[in-house]
């Protein structure tokens, strides 16, 4: 996995999730961030921090990204969400515009 194809998402606790750029672009917010014309730090380094999103949530989000890429290619599968994390997940989703 080359450096240019990946993005690093860092959770509140400091966990680093390295995912494909294509996966990250599922989120509109991330897309704007990464493709913005201004040279923000994010675009320079290719990593984004989320001090308000906790690790399990962020993990789930990354799983969602990959799931949605699969889903887009036609294979229908179910995305399982534990009920306890639903609310926080939703707030994160709203934030990320996913």
């Amino acid at each position: 996995m080359r450096k240019e194809d990946t993005v690093k998402l860092i959770s509140a606790e400091g966990f680093e999730f390295i995912i494909d750029r294509k996966a990250a672009l599922v989120s509109n917010t991330l897309k704007n961030m990464l493709t913005s014309s201004g040279s923000f730090t994010e675009t320079e380094l290719g990593e984004v921090r989320f001090p308000e999103i906790s690790t399990p949530i962020l993990e789930k989000v990354c799983q969602y990204f990959y799931w949605s890429l699969q889903f887009a290619s036609g294979k229908e599968t179910e995305f399982h969400i534990e009920p306890e994390i639903t609310l926080e997940l939703m707030m994160a989703a709203n934030y990320l515009h996913t």
Binding site: S37, V61, A93, Y95
Partner: protein
């Protein structure tokens, strides 16, 4: 993902934590962060900013119901920023004004894009639903509000732009890029901006420039054609300019083009029209198709312009026609006349094709003009038939069919539809064809058949079938002759020597010839008998009638002093001359009695034998120009001529033509009457009741293919039919007629 979660939540009842509200201080602090970030962005200095942080700030502000703070703060901030820019711009000197403006604009656009990205969330959740606007729109509005519409900036922007346009028109290259950028800016700001600020003054300025140019031009140029070519050039330049320099969404393009044309042509129309008339004539005479095309293209822009060009052209055509016809000398020379008709037709065809792009109005006008033109001469039909005759005779001399000849025939065919007296033409053509075939000269069968097929297309099969039969008759005659000569009894070697030939014609196909009697000399009589025997043995049930007034013979004559000449004479003349084999002296009466030839014809033949200089093989007493009944004729022993072969046959033919023409015409008129009556009956049979006016129209329609019937003639026909009880006047309405079965 949100929609999935949404479903999940509905199925669960969760404990939702207390909704936090943001305090004023918190929101103020957040806004300060944002303000700082935005100002950095506006100077395009974003390297050390964290997108995520800013985004989160905006997000939380909106989430905690502080979106309005963002909104108001944003508006104020931008206003301040742009006002600062406006003041800096004013300080800029004139020549650099536009460049500076352009620079600021580009950087502004860039920063606006970044702001858009940051404000993505607030845009979606607050700006659009609540404030009913978007970041982008706001950005544009700010720019417009604070910069462009301020009187100071605007006051400088406009003249600077117009100045640019002027310079570009004069040919400066470098300004194009700047100009297009500024214009694009105005466009991006919204339609009204562009239209109000720039387009109107631009159009005014353009109009002014060209008005001036067009006023100056004629004094310099003087010629309509030149003026128009200059106009064309300018127009194409302007169009190019629009496309390249302004890269306008072709909204302005047509407007500017229209402005140019208005100035150069429309406002100038009246003067141009006066100029156009004589110049058009020049163009037509000189075959200047390009100039004509240009005139046409330009006058299309002017309402009613095309009609003016059209009328001008056709007045000229009619005038030429009148001039041609008024010259009686020209008229006599039929070939010349028709040639000129064809030339005119050709020329105008080309004009229509090349210059006017086959415009229908022009084509119609051409047909109308050609019709008047062609029928302007009384003898038009005769002329055309004579022309064709001439061409066919010439073509017969060539061994092969010449394609140019075929083309010429095509062109003549094109004239025929215009003719009013088509039936005259038909009759004349048939007579001419008969003459051609029987004259014994060379006939190009191929050319004849080509022309006949063309005539078939025009007149239909019944007419041309006769002509075709005439041609086949000639061929059949050749076959019969072959059979005849091969079957002859050996005792008639003299026949083979004398080269006797007969053409057998089917009487129905050939133009009717009056029956002539002629007592042929005994030598010919015996041949005649032989032929008849042969023919009747081959074809029983047919009857041959001999027509001696048509063909010719070649006689070897021995004159005094051992002079021998070959005389090419008609059959009548042969009879007359052979009489002198036995007798030396004969009176007119004697000749007439012996030969049995009609007085009228006899006079003519004797005239050509005795009175024509250089061909007087007979001497006449008293010596005079005319033939009298008491004249005495003697064989002219002292006859001499430089040529061995002498043609006496067709000397009198020219005189015949004029009388023949009149005769044919009268016959045609005579023939027309039954045709008119037949047409009337046909119309009435289908309509049963018809009023006078309609009847006349219908009958004219029916007869259109043959000739143009005139109303008095039709009226005569109607009267005649009423007399014959085919029609009756309607009892109720005096103007209507009723068909009587």
């Amino acid at each position: 993902m949100a929609h999935i979660l949404d479903q999940k939540i509905r199925s669960f009842k969760l404990k939702i934590p207390e909704f936090k509200k943001m305090s004023k201080t918190d929101s103020d602090r957040s806004w300060e962060v944002l303000e700082d970030a935005i100002s950095q962005i506006l100077t395009l200095n974003v390297k050390y900013l964290s997108f995520e942080q800013i985004y989160r700030t905006v997000y939380s502000m909106v989430l905690y119901r502080c979106g309005e703070v963002v909104y108001r703060g944003f508006v104020n901030m931008m206003a301040r920023h742009l006002q600062r820019i406006a003041t800096t711009l004013e300080a800029v000197p004139g020549s650099l004004f536009l460049e500076e403006l352009n620079r600021r604009w580009t950087s502004y656009i860039q920063s606006l894009q970044i702001i858009e990205d940051i404000f993505f969330h607030v845009d979606r959740t607050y700006f659009r639903p609540v404030a009913k606007t978007s970041t982008f729109l706001m950005g544009m509005n700010f720019w417009k509000q604070h910069l462009i519409t301020t009187p100071e900036v605007r006051g400088r922007l406009l003249p600077a732009l117009l100045d640019l346009v002027l310079r570009e028109r004069m040919g400066e290259e470098k300004v194009q890029g700047l100009m297009s950028k500024i214009i694009k800016m105005l466009e991006d700001l919204g339609l009204y901006v562009y239209d109000d600020i720039f387009e109107k003054p631009l159009l005014d300025a353009t109009a002014a420039v060209y008005r001036f140019q067009s006023k100056m031009a004629p004094h310099e140029l003087g010629d309509c054609a030149e003026y128009l070519s200059m106009a064309e050039r300018t127009l194409s330049e302007e169009i190019k300019r629009e496309r390249v320099a302004m890269c306008v969404e072709s909204r302005s393009g047509p407007k500017v083009t229209a402005a140019v044309t208005t100035e150069m042509i429309c406002n100038y129309m009246l003067k141009l029209v006066d100029m156009v008339m004589p110049d058009l004539v020049l163009m037509l005479v000189g075959d200047k198709y390009d100039d004509l095309a240009r005139t046409y293209a330009f006058f299309q822009f002017v309402p009613g312009g095309v009609a003016i060009v059209c009328t001008a052209m056709y007045t000229h055509l009619r005038a030429t026609g009148k001039y041609l016809v008024a010259d009686p000398e020209r008229l006599e020379n039929h070939v010349n006349f028709v040639q000129r008709l064809i030339d005119q037709q050709d020329k105008y065809d080309k004009v229509i094709r090349l210059s006017v792009k086959n415009d229908i109005t022009f084509q119609n006008a051409l047909s109308a003009a050609m019709e008047t033109f062609v029928n302007s001469s009384k003898w038009a039909a005769e002329s055309i038939s004579l022309y064709m005759d001439d061409k066919l005779r010439k073509a017969a001399d060539l061994k092969q069919v010449n394609t140019t000849d075929v083309e010429i025939l095509d062109k003549v065919m094109m004239l025929i539809p215009y003719l009013h007296d088509k039936d005259v033409l038909k009759k004349n053509y048939r007579t001419n064809l008969a003459k051609r075939l029987l004259s014994g000269g060379a006939v190009s069968h191929k050319m004849e058949s080509i022309l006949i097929s063309k005539l078939k297309a025009e007149f239909g099969y019944p007419y041309t079938s006769k002509l075709e039969r005439m041609l086949t008759d000639m061929e059949t005659s050749d076959d019969i002759m072959e059979g005849f000569t091969s079957n002859l009894l050996s005792g008639h070697d003299s026949v083979k020597e004398s080269n006797f030939s007969v053409s057998v014609l089917t009487s129905a196909s050939w133009p009717t010839q009056p029956m002539q009697i002629c007592n042929l000399p005994s030598e010919i009589l015996s041949l005649q008998h032989e032929f008849e025997t042969h023919y009747y043995s081959a074809h029983s049930g047919r009857r041959l009638t001999w027509l001696p007034n048509i063909r010719s013979a070649e006689l070897k004559a021995n004159f005094g002093f051992g002079k021998e000449h070959e005389l090419h004479v008609s059959t009548y003349q042969t009879c007359i001359l052979m009489l002198f084999n036995t007798k030396d002296c004969l009176t007119y009466e004697e000749i007439q009695q012996t030969t049995g030839i009609r007085c009228h014809d006899l006079t003519r033949e004797l005239h050509s034998l005795a009175c024509v200089k250089g061909k007087n093989v007979l001497r006449k007493e008293p010596i005079s120009k005319d033939i009298g009944k008491a004249d005495v004729f003697m064989f002219n022993d002292g006859f001499s001529s430089k040529l061995y072969k002498i043609k006496i046959w067709n000397v009198g033919a020219q005189k015949l033509m004029e009388t023949k023409r009149k005769y044919t015409r009268e016959r045609v008129q005579f023939d027309r009457r039954p045709q008119i009556e037949a047409a009337i009956v046909r119309v009435m049979k289908s309509r049963q009741i018809l009023d006078h006016k309609n009847l006349v129209t219908q009958v004219t329609e029916h007869l259109k293919s043959s000739f143009v019937a005139n109303p008095p003639e039709i009226k005569k026909g109607i009267e005649a039919l009423i007399g014959k009880e085919f029609l009756e006047r309607d009892k109720d309405e005096t103007q209507s007629y009723r068909y009587v079965a």
